[in-house]
Structures are given as structure tokens and as C-alpha cells.
């Protein structure tokens, strides 16, 4: 069977998790030309509680549409980190928003303060999801940065393009600093 890469994005309702999932799927599928399936938590639990979006990326047609064992888990709050960490593939990557995730279950986790960065550098907490996407793409190369930017700009409300471009850049820079060991 071909290449299959599974991403689970999680956090609380209102953090833009599902929008991030759609953008990631669009970047990988429409712009990078891969096969993608995107699913999400649906129903009352999505409001206020734990929100979850999954993206499966493959070079061939995707059979089972949901994540089986995620290769990459983004946890934007403590609750989702606790709930989903043990689903992660053994060599999988855990990325957490250290603004909210204080108890990190593994020494291999990558902790970056997405929400704090959005607040401090962009004065808009709501773009934390875009900051996170920029970091994820840089850390894992799951999608190309050019595709990600195109997908972000294609989905965000008119008039917010500059803000979102800066949010992406903030995430990319944070990831680069992390990779350089800072």
C-alpha cells in the first residue's frame, strides 16, 4: 500500500481547529495535488468541548477516511492532549500549544506557544490556528509552504489576508527557531 500520512488537529471549540483542518486538506489536496480526506468531530460535543479535525493525506486513493493511528497530533489545549496522545503512532509527532498545555505527556513533544504568539505579535488570538499550521508545515513538511499560503489566503475572510500571512510567518519562524535548537 502507498504512502499514508494522518494528521489530527485538536483543541476546544472556537480555536479554529476545523478551519485549520479544511485549510490543511485544501493545501495538500488541491494545491499539492495529493489525495486527501478530511473529517471532523460532529455534533453537540464539538461546541465548547473537545474539537477534532483529521486530515489523511496519500499518494493514492484513500480507503478508510479517518485517522487510524495519527502520524501527527496537534493539541491546542490540555484536554485534547490528554484525550488523544495515546492514539499517536509510536514514532509520531506531538505538537502542543504551550500556552494551554502545561502537562506534556512525552519528552519528545514539540511545545510552542501558538496562542501567546498570536496575542503578542499579531494582537489577534483568533489566528493561533494559522500560526500553528505554519509551524506544523515547517516541522513536518506535510504540505509545502507555498501550498499552505495559497490555501490560507483562499479560505480566510476578505480583508484579513495580511493578518493571516503574518500569522503563517510567525508560525514558520517559531518552528525554524525550534529546529535550530532555540
Amino acid at each position: 500500500m502507498g504512502y499514508r500520512y494522518e494528521v489530527r488537529l485538536s483543541g476546544s471549540g472556537g480555536q479554529g481547529i476545523i478551519m485549520a483542518g479544511i485549510i490543511l486538506a485544501e493545501a495538500a489536496g488541491v494545491h499539492d495535488g495529493k489525495y486527501v480526506c478530511q473529517t471532523q468531530s460532529y455534533g453537540p460535543e464539538a461546541r465548547g468541548g473537545a474539537s477534532k479535525a483529521e486530515v489523511v493525506i496519500s499518494d493514492e486513493e484513500i480507503d478508510y477516511p479517518k485517522a487510524i493511528k495519527p502520524d501527527l497530533l496537534l493539541a491546542m489545549n490540555q484536554k485534547s492532549c490528554d484525550a488523544y496522545f495515546f492514539d499517536l503512532k509510536p514514532e509520531g509527532t506531538l505538537v502542543v500549544d504551550s500556552t494551554f498545555v502545561k502537562q506534556i505527556p512525552t519528552t519528545r513533544a514539540i511545545a510552542l506557544p501558538f496562542t501567546q504568539l498570536a496575542r503578542a505579535e499579531l494582537k489577534k488570538e483568533m489566528v493561533a490556528n494559522i500560526v500553528a499550521l505554519g509551524a506544523l508545515a515547517t516541522l513536518t513538511k506535510v504540505v509545502s509552504l507555498a501550498s499552505l499560503e495559497a490555501a490560507v489566503l483562499g479560505r480566510v475572510p476578505p480583508g484579513t489576508e495580511e493578518l493571516n500571512r503574518k500569522a503563517l510567518e510567525t508560525g514558520i519562524n517559531a518552528a525554524k527557531l525550534y529546529m535550530q535548537g532555540h
Binding site: M1, I22, A25, G29, V36, C37, T39, Y42, P65
Partner: protein, 381 residues
């Protein structure tokens, strides 16, 4: 059915949204419906897209009226559609029977959720398979198709309209919560790449038109309201002129004809998607979202040396007996995983007549069967 077209426009769509694209590509110009989870996106997107191409979208007071409206629109010449889920589909049954008997082409989508009654609105299920076949009363012919991917949501919706027009019958599409809400990248074909079929209309002088007269196909040409071909439309059993009859010599040919028009075209209507079935010792029969789990399980089973094969049913009714039967006498066992207590497996057992062993996996907790559940069973079998 699974090759990816390389030409068209690449888009990321939910299954529900792809159904709207398919309907528009097939020439749908009228939609009447009442929003219901998990089918709402179909109405929502239709309400924007249909008026934009000069069509009509009506949000009705309920599903009984929705079904009535699409029948009326079709009689007036429009290709029409409605979309709902279990509770609404229950309400549509009476008028669905009317469409069968009056032979009115239309497409009815049921995005299945957990039942019975209002059940589990946000959860996936496949428990309306028998309802789609027998929900409306009386012996009646019906075509029911099941979709499993976003691409199939597009392709099969086009096909559903074509079959409805070709055979003058309602066509039901069974989707489910997982298929309806999963977003996938698909290529939307250019209009010229899609076959679109329109109903045969009468071409004799209007005064010679006999609206329900038999012919070799069993499908009479359909006059549309306002074009001069006046005729009587009724749910009562009628004679060739469309008027109610109680004469046995008119009742029997009428009922036989409406069944024959479907049964004599089985091979045009029956659609399955087979993978690795040629040398299969265990055949997995699945449809809808579960077909995706089954497909993965079959591929993984092969990697472990288990000779499994995948038979995805796209046409559920008429049941693809002619395609399945040859396998039943050849394979060691059949496995039917489904999200109900055994609706398609019951049909497989009925046609099996003891030829092979039929096992089932039935999940009714509102979640999709996983590939692992099927794989574990395949290895045991």
C-alpha cells in the same frame, strides 16, 4: 468508477456538497426540501447554487410537502430532487409510492443517521436499507443506490438522475453521515464529459397520445404539463389513459409493466465495484461508508496472505443477485459488515440458499466499523 479524472476543476468538497454538484451537472432545476441533520448541507448549498443557474429552490413546511413538490415539478418537466435523513424519509413514503405508480422521475437522497425515530441525529447508520425498498406500501419497483466517497456522491447522483429519467421512476440515493460530511479532493468533470439522459417525450399529435401505453421498454413517453399532451395523473391503479380502473385485465398488465421496466433492465441498473474478487476465498460485501473500511481491511488481509475480495454494492435495489450469485457457489465464506442489525446480510442469506457460509459484523452504536474490526474477522475466517 475509482479512477481520478485529471482534467476537471480540483476542489475540496463534502459528500453532501458533491451531490449538489452532481445534481446540477445532471440538469436538476428544482429542489424542495426541509433541512435535517446530517443532510442539511445539501439544502444549504442548493439554496445558493440552484437560483444562480435559473433553477428553483423551495424550503418546504415538511418532508411530505417536499416530496409532493418534486413530483409536481417533474410532471411540469423539471428534473427534481429532495434530500433528507431517516425521520424525513419516513414522511416521504406515501408520496414516494405515488411517484412509483404515476411513474414520475425524481431523485430522493437519504443521508442516513441513527434511528429509529429521531434516533441519533449526528451519528452514522445504515439502517434504512429495507425502508428504502419497502417503506411505501404495496408491491412497487424502486431503484436504490448507495454512495461511499465524495466522488461517488457526484457520479452516482448524475447516474440517479439518468436512471430516473430513463425508467420514469423515483431513484433513492442512500448516503450516510460519514460520507455526507467527509471532505475529499475531487475533480469536477467538464459538462461535456458527463452523460446526461433526458426522458423520452411524446412526438405523436397530442390527441393520439396514450400516456400509459406499453412498449418494448415498458417505459411510456412522458408528456409534460403545459406542452399540450394532457393526461390524468393518479395514485390509483389506472388504465393506459391514466384513469382509475378495477378491471383485472387492466390491473395486471399495469402492475406487471411497472415491475418489468426495471427487471428487464437489470444489467443497466446493477452497479458494483469489485476489487481482488477473481481469486477470492472470502468475499466481503459492503456498501456506503463501511465499504471504505472493508476495502482497507481486504487490502491488509491480502498483505497477510488471506485471500479476501471486495464487492462494493452501489445498487442496493434491485438487489444485485445476478452479480453476487456466481461468487456464492465459489467462495468459502462471505462477510457482510454493516451499520444495522443485518439488512443487506439478510438479503445475501436469502439468495445464498445455503451455498456458502455468510457471516456478519453489525455495529449499531453510531460509529463507523473500523478496518481493524473487519481484518480481525477475516483472519479468523
Amino acid at each position: 468508477m475509482n479512477e481520478q479524472a485529471t482534467t476537471g476543476r480540483q476542489v475540496l468538497l463534502q459528500g453532501n456538497e458533491a451531490m449538489v454538484e452532481g445534481a446540477l451537472a445532471a440538469g436538476c432545476t428544482f429542489f424542495a426540501g426541509y433541512p435535517i441533520t446530517p443532510a442539511t448541507e445539501i439544502s444549504e448549498v442548493m439554496s445558493v447554487k440552484l437560483p444562480a443557474v435559473g433553477g428553483t429552490f423551495v424550503q418546504m413546511e415538511d418532508e411530505i410537502a417536499s416530496m409532493g413538490a418534486i413530483i409536481g415539478a417533474s410532471l411540469a418537466g423539471a428534473k427534481s430532487m429532495t434530500a433528507t435523513s431517516g425521520p424525513g424519509f419516513s414522511l416521504m413514503q406515501e408520496n414516494l409510492g405515488f411517484a412509483c405508480v404515476a411513474e414520475v422521475p425524481c431523485v430522493v437522497v437519504n443521508v442516513m443517521r441513527g434511528g429509529p425515530s429521531t434516533g441519533l441525529p449526528t451519528n452514522v447508520s445504515q439502517a434504512d436499507v429495507m425502508q428504502a425498498r419497502w417503506g411505501t406500501h404495496g408491491d412497487h419497483p424502486i431503484i436504490v443506490l448507495a454512495v461511499s466517497t465524495t466522488k461517488e456522491c457526484f457520479d452516482i447522483t448524475v447516474k440517479a438522475f439518468n436512471l430516473a429519467e430513463k425508467y420514469r421512476t423515483p431513484v433513492i440515493i442512500l448516503s450516510d453521515e460519514v460520507v455526507g460530511h467527509t471532505r475529499e479532493k475531487i475533480s469536477l468533470p467538464h459538462p461535456g464529459e458527463i452523460e446526461v439522459i433526458d426522458r423520452i417525450r411524446p412526438n405523436m399529435p397530442p390527441e393520439w397520445y396514450v400516456p400509459y401505453e406499453d412498449n418494448s421498454r415498458g417505459v411510456p413517453p412522458m408528456g409534460i404539463f403545459g406542452d399540450g399532451y394532457r393526461y390524468h395523473v393518479t395514485g390509483l391503479v389506472h388504465d393506459v389513459r391514466g384513469f382509475p380502473t378495477q378491471r383485472p385485465d387492466e390491473i395486471v398488465p399495469f402492475l406487471n409493466r411497472i415491475h418489468r421496466k426495471i427487471s428487464q433492465h437489470f444489467f443497466d441498473i446493477l452497479m458494483v465495484d469489485e476489487e481482488l474478487t477473481e481469486d477470492a476465498e472470502i468475499l466481503v460485501v459492503a456498501y456506503g461508508s463501511v465499504a471504505r473500511s472493508a476495502r482497507r481491511a481486504v487490502r491488509e488481509a491480502r498483505e497477510r496472505g488471506v485471500k479476501a475480495g471486495m464487492m462494493q454494492l452501489i445498487t442496493l435495489w434491485p438487489f444485485p443477485r445476478q452479480i453476487l450469485e456466481p461468487y456464492l457457489s465459489r467462495v468459502k465464506a462471505v462477510l457482510v459488515p454493516e451499520l444495522n442489525m443485518g439488512q443487506v446480510s439478510r438479503e445475501v442469506k436469502r439468495i445464498n440458499q445455503g451455498a456458502t457460509r455468510v457471516e456478519t459484523i453489525n455495529r449499531i452504536d453510531g460509529n463507523l466499523i473500523t478496518p481493524e474490526e473487519i481484518l480481525v474477522r477475516l483472519i479468523k475466517m
